[in-house]
C-alpha cells in the first residue's frame, strides 16, 4: 500500500518540478513541459510492447493462459498509452508547427503502432475459444514485435522530419539541461511505475475472470485473494 502513496507523491513532485524547477528548452518555449509527459508515455508504449512480445513467447512455450492474460493486459494498456502519446504529440505539434497533424514520420510511426495494438485486440475479439485466441494472439504479438523496430526506428529515417532529435541524438550526445534531465528521468520512472501498477491490478482481475469461467484453476493465493 505504501508504494502507491509513494508513486502518487512522486508524480505530484514531478508535475510541480516540470513547471517550477526545470528550465525551458531553447526554441521549444512553453512546449518544453510536454516533454515530461509525451516522451515517458511513448516510452511506456514501447515497454508494453516488449511485455506483449515476452508474454506471447512465454505462452507459446508453456501454453499457460496466465501468460496470455498478461499479454492481453499489456496490449490494452499499450493501446491506452499509445493514444496518450499520440494526443500529447499532436498538442506539441500544434504549438510548434501550427497544426495538430502533419504526417511527420514520427507521428506516422506512433499512429501505426496504435493501429497494431488495435489490430491485436481486434484479433482477440474475433476468436472465441480461449486456447486458440491465446495462440493466434501470441503469434500476432510476436510478429508485430519483430516488425515494430523497423516501424519505429528505420521508417522515420526514410523521410524528412521536423521532430526534435531523440534525447540521446545520432551523435550520441545528451543535449538537455541537467535540471530538465532530472525531471525527465523522474517522470520516466514514475510513468513506468504507473504502468506496472495498473498492469498488476488488471492481470489479477483477468485471472479472476478466467477462474470464474473455469478456464484457469489458479494458485491457492489467487483463489484466496
Amino acid at each position: 500500500m505504501w508504494w502507491r502513496w509513494g508513486l502518487f507523491l512522486w508524480m505530484a513532485v514531478v508535475t510541480v518540478a516540470a513547471f517550477l524547477y526545470a528550465p525551458l528548452a531553447k526554441k521549444l518555449y512553453e512546449q518544453t513541459r510536454i516533454i515530461y509527459w509525451h516522451i515517458p508515455v511513448a516510452w511506456v508504449t514501447l515497454v508494453a510492447f516488449l511485455v506483449v512480445g515476452w508474454q506471447s513467447w512465454r505462452y507459446l512455450v508453456t501454453r499457460d493462459l496466465v501468460a496470455d492474460a498478461r499479454a492481453a493486459v499489456a496490449m490494452e494498456l499499450g493501446l491506452l498509452f499509445c493514444v496518450l502519446a499520440t494526443v500529447s504529440g499532436a498538442i506539441f505539434s500544434k504549438g510548434m508547427w501550427g497544426s495538430y497533424w502533419n504526417w511527420d514520420p514520427r507521428q506516422t510511426s506512433i499512429f501505426f503502432l496504435l493501429l497494431v495494438y488495435a489490430a491485436a485486440l481486434t484479433l482477440r475479439a474475433a476468436v472465441e475459444d480461449p486456447a486458440r485466441r491465446a495462440r493466434l494472439s501470441a503469434v500476432y504479438g510476436l510478429f508485430a514485435a519483430a516488425v515494430t523496430p523497423l516501424l519505429l526506428f528505420v521508417v522515420p529515417r526514410l523521410f524528412f522530419t521536423l521532430h526534435p532529435d531523440p534525447i540521446v541524438n545520432s551523435a550520441g550526445k545528451l543535449e538537455m539541461h541537467p535540471r530538465m534531465f532530472q525531471v525527465f528521468l523522474a517522470s520516466l520512472v514514475g510513468f513506468t511505475g504507473i504502468f506496472f501498477w495498473v498492469y498488476a491490478l488488471d492481470v489479477r482481475l483477468r485471472l479472476h475472470q478466467l477462474a470464474r469461467e473455469g478456464a484457469w484453476t489458479g494458485s491457492g493465493k489467487d483463489r484466496a485473494a
Binding site: V139, Y140, L142, F143, A144, A146, L150, L158
Partner: protein
C-alpha cells in the same frame, strides 16, 4: 487436393510431416496443388487483377490528364498494389477453411511446408497481378522510369516481404471469425515499413537516373524478418 489425396497418409508419415529434409519438397507439392487449383478456377488472379485495374482507373480518373509528381505517382502505385494484395492473397488459407480441406492439408504436410508453399503461391499471384498493373500504370499516368533495374529490385524485394506478411496474417485469420473483413485491419499496420520503403525507392527510380535506391536494405531486412518469424512460429501458426 490433387495428387496428395491419392496417397495413403497418416499424420506425420508424409514428406515434410516430420523430417526437415523433405520440407522443400512438400512445400513444392502444396505450391503445385494451389497453382493447379488456381489454373482451374482463376479466381484469385482474376479477382485481384480486376480489383487492381479498377482501382488504378479510379485513381487515374481522379488525378486527371495532367498526371502528378513522382512522389504522388509512386504512392498511388503502391497503394493500389497493397489493396489488391490484401484483397487477393488472403484467399490462400481462407479457401482451405471454406472448402474444409484445412485438416487434410495439416495431415499431409508440416506447418512450415504449408506456409512456404502458400507463400510461393501468393508470390506468384502478386507477380502476375503486377505484370498487368505496372504497364497499365505507366500508360495511364504517362510516367517513365529513369532507372528500371532499380525499380525491378524494389518491386521484387517488396513483393517478398508483402506476400510473406500477408500469408502469415491470412493463416491466422483463416482460423478466426469474420476473417474477410479483418485482413486489412491486421495486415496494414504491419506492412507499413514495406510500403514506405517501396514508395521512396520507386520515387527514386522515377527521378534519379542510374540510382540504386538504398531502401533495398529495409525491404530485404523486412522480408528476412517476416520469413524468419514464419519459419520459427510455423508450428504455432497452424497448430490446430
Amino acid at each position: 487436393m490433387g495428387h496428395e489425396r491419392d496417397r495413403a497418409v497418416t499424420p506425420g508419415s508424409v514428406a515434410g510431416g516430420s523430417n526437415g529434409g523433405s520440407l522443400l519438397g512438400t512445400a513444392w507439392a502444396v505450391f503445385a496443388k494451389d497453382v493447379t487449383t488456381e489454373l482451374r478456377s482463376r479466381y484469385a488472379v482474376a479477382a485481384t487483377a480486376t480489383f487492381a485495374l479498377a482501382a488504378l482507373a479510379v485513381v487515374s480518373f481522379a488525378v486527371g490528364p495532367f498526371g502528378g509528381r513522382a512522389e504522388l505517382l509512386a504512392a498511388f502505385l503502391w497503394t493500389v498494389i497493397l489493396f489488391a494484395a490484401a484483397a487477393g492473397l488472403a484467399q490462400a488459407f481462407v479457401r482451405e477453411a471454406e472448402r474444409r480441406t484445412w485438416l487434410t492439408l495439416r495431415l499431409v504436410a508440416a506447418p512450415g511446408a504449408i506456409l512456404l508453399g502458400k507463400w510461393g503461391v501468393n508470390l506468384a499471384v502478386l507477380a502476375s497481378i503486377e505484370v498487368l498493373v505496372v504497364p497499365a500504370f505507366l500508360v495511364l499516368f504517362g510516367v517513365e522510369f529513369r532507372s528500371l533495374p532499380a525499380f525491378l529490385a524494389i518491386l521484387v524485394l517488396a513483393n517478398l516481404g508483402l506476400s510473406a506478411a500477408l500469408t502469415l496474417v491470412s493463416a491466422l485469420l483463416a482460423q478466426a471469425r469474420a476473417h474477410g473483413a479483418l485482413v486489412s485491419a491486421l495486415a496494414f499496420p504491419l506492412v507499413v515499413p514495406v510500403l514506405m520503403a517501396a514508395i521512396v525507392g520507386t520515387r527514386r527510380a522515377f527521378t534519379e537516373p542510374g540510382a540504386w535506391p538504398p531502401e533495398w536494405r529495409v525491404l530485404a531486412a523486412y522480408a528476412g524478418v517476416v520469413v524468419g518469424i514464419g519459419v520459427l512460429l510455423a508450428e504455432h501458426v497452424l497448430d490446430d
